[in-house]
């Protein structure tokens, strides 16, 4: 029976990993649908996760759609629903509904170089497109990642980043120097200027805290990237995820339905209210 659009499918947590411990706790979860339900999505899309009794939260799917066994979500512990999710264990059931949003137009980027720029937990929404690009490597030009966090402890996907270094250039950074840190020290936008990605036949995809995105876009423009060469994914408070409850709009767009992925050319035309 086809469930109505508000009813989630039940999914079991099959993996729960501590990504970042301490104050800004992040955990990565993998889920499998309880009844073997099909769930097709595009990279950059999100799903509404339900903790029954607490509520729902819209989280981007960080695993590649080419991986069919599970869905992966990296979640910052920040409020009622996310705290409840963090307290859950492998085997617990949650609700998943979606996929929502427009996703990255990855097919339009065939033949181009892709530079991924992330900050903090902003790497999670980008991860699905990073992994997909790797799995379809022959279709794209060079791939590279510029990623940073406040401290070395706040970096997500630490193990995966170590693996990633053998597959593409990975430039990491942290905000303040630490004794064993050998890479760049400074903010991610500054590292972008340092590493000078070339705009020639390149698409830059960035995600992170709003202030980081703002300065990354500015610096990419200084490096002569055009507005339609810069892509980002925005977030807003969401409840329905279907473009109905009226909450997440930026101008006449609903971030849950018409976004969350935007090129800077599109985003700068909308009211800067996000």
């Amino acid at each position: 029976m086809e469930l109505n659009v508000y009813t989630p499918k039940l999914a079991k947590i099959v993996q729960a990993k501590d990504e970042v411990v301490g104050t800004r706790t992040i955990k990565t979860f993998r889920t499998e649908f309880a009844n073997g339900a099909r769930f097709d999505y595009r990279c950059g899309q999100c799903a509404m996760l339900s903790v029954f009794g607490k509520g729902e939260a819209m989280i981007s799917i960080s695993s590649s759609p080419l991986i069919r066994d599970y869905l992966q979500f990296s979640i910052l512990r920040t409020g009622r629903v996310t705290a409840a999710l963090h307290d859950m264990e492998v085997g617990d059931l949650i609700g998943v509904r979606g996929p929502y949003g427009n996703g990255f137009p990855i097919d339009e980027w065939r033949g181009k170089n892709l530079v991924f720029i992330g900050g903090g937990i902003g790497l999670a929404p980008l991860w699905s497109v990073v992994q997909t690009a790797l799995l379809r490597k022959s279709e794209f030009g060079t791939l590279s990642l510029i990623y940073g966090a406040r401290t070395s402890r706040d970096l997500v996907f630490k193990d995966e980043l170590a693996d990633l270094k053998s597959q593409m250039p990975v430039h990491l950074s942290i905000d303040v120097a630490e004794p064993d840190w050998k890479e760049f020290v400074g903010f991610v936008p500054t590292n972008v200027l340092e590493k000078k990605p070339s705009p020639a036949n390149t698409i830059a995809i960035t995600c992170g805290p709003p202030i980081m995105i703002k300065f990354v876009i500015k610096n990419l423009k200084d490096l002569k990237f055009e507005d339609d060469q810069i892509y980002t994914t925005v977030e807003n408070k969401m409840k329905c995820g279907l473009g109905k409850c009226g909450r997440c709009n930026i101008g006449f767009h609903y971030v849950c339905k018409d976004g969350p992925v935007y090129s800077w050319a599109e985003l700068k035309k909308l009211p800067q209210e996000y």
Binding site: T23, T25, R77, T78, G79, R80, T82, A83, A84
Partner: protein, 343 residues
């Protein structure tokens, strides 16, 4: 008669000399009710101020907004704001001073006396002159209301269209002010708490069904809370999430916040919301009647607050909003406070 010209002169002077940031007063409304709140920043706009029996709004609410505005600014302008107050409104200022929510230097109080009358109730007026829109209401020498409609002028005895609370008025002229226009007239009042008699005479079962029927209509628009100057909490018991969130608020604090009242406008939730709000206002409500006036579904909210006001008087001899130096009712204890209800 309180004269708006007195206030206009003072307001003009204050703005010209830069002594206040802006003036909160009454001006012409456009939606069918003659008066509306007006914010004046320039001395030349002072002529827009009005004072008449349709100035029913309690402007003290905007002092709460002003405080919030300052809190959001990095370098706030510390000058006071000017505010027009009636007698009842001035008592709200006293409560805010009492609770140290604002400082005396934050306000320049332009007081007006209602003398022998008060303000007009829109429902009573609509019943008295059905289908007619009041363009202007004035008080004549015999303290009758003269209502101008499209068809001309009609005289109405004040008692017929005065707001209920004006019939039990405790302060027909401001108890605190920097300037007062109008006389400090003595007036005979209706029996204090007379409006409660009808409800108090009902049996407990009838009272319960009365309130259930009234509160079932509530759509939880929170106009009552928004209009009340004393509902200034940054985070209200009925809010379902933390509102006063800073960078230091932990996830646990947000996660552990209890949802005391659901958002559903069901009987149980509406009842708890209104009763809790009434109790939170016990010893603080000065009966400006804004909650009831703002309510789009005309729920008689005043009665809840009035009843607690009566109890505050009977049990503790406490009258709200006259002395800013007194401690707030629920934050102090006197040896002679009654204890017979403690078992």
């Amino acid at each position: 008669m309180a004269k708006i010209e007195d206030l206009k002169d003072e307001a003009r002077k204050l703005l010209r000399e830069g002594k206040v940031k802006y003036i909160i007063g009454y001006g012409a409304g456009s939606n069918g009710w003659p008066a509306a709140p007006l914010f004046i920043k320039k001395p030349e706009d002072v002529d827009k101020l009005v004072w008449d029996p349709t100035c029913v709004h309690n402007l003290v609410r905007f002092l709460v907004d002003e405080k919030r505005r300052k809190a959001r600014q990095r370098q706030p302008d510390k000058r006071p704001v000017g505010i027009m107050v009636k007698g009842c409104d001035s008592r709200a200022v006293v409560v805010l001073l009492q609770e140290k929510f604002i400082d005396r230097n934050d306000v320049y109080i332009l007081g007006v006396s209602c003398e022998k009358t008060g303000v007009v109730d829109d429902t009573k007026l609509a019943k008295k002159l059905p289908g007619k829109k009041a363009k202007k209401i004035e008080v004549d020498a015999q303290n009758r209301f003269v209502v101008t409609t499209e068809e001309g002028k009609t005289e109405v005895a004040a008692a017929e269209i005065l707001a209920e609370r004006c019939l039990e008025c405790k302060a027909n002229f401001p108890v605190i002010y920097d300037l007062l226009s109008g006389e400090k007239t003595k007036r005979s009042l209706d029996e204090p708490f007379g409006s409660l008699q009808k409800i108090e005479s009902l049996s407990a079962a009838d009272r319960w069904s009365f309130w259930k029927e009234q509160l079932d209509r509530c759509i939880r628009c929170y106009a009552c809370r928004s209009a009340c100057p004393m509902c200034y909490c940054d985070e209200c018991v009925v809010d379902s999430i933390n509102l006063a969130v800073t960078a230091e608020t932990t996830a646990d604090e947000k996660a552990q916040r209890i949802r005391w009242i659901q958002r559903s406008a069901e009987s149980s939730e509406n009842l708890v919301y209104h009763l809790v709000r009434a109790i939170h206002l016990a010893g603080r409500c000065i009966d400006c009647g804004e909650c009831e006036r703002a309510c789009p579904l005309d729920i008689p909210l005043r009665f809840l607050n009035k009843k607690l006001e009566k109890e505050a008087k009977e049990l503790f001899g406490y009258e709200v909003g006259f002395d800013a130096a007194l401690p707030a009712l629920v934050s102090c204890f006197r040896d002679e406070d009654p204890q017979d209800f403690i078992r």
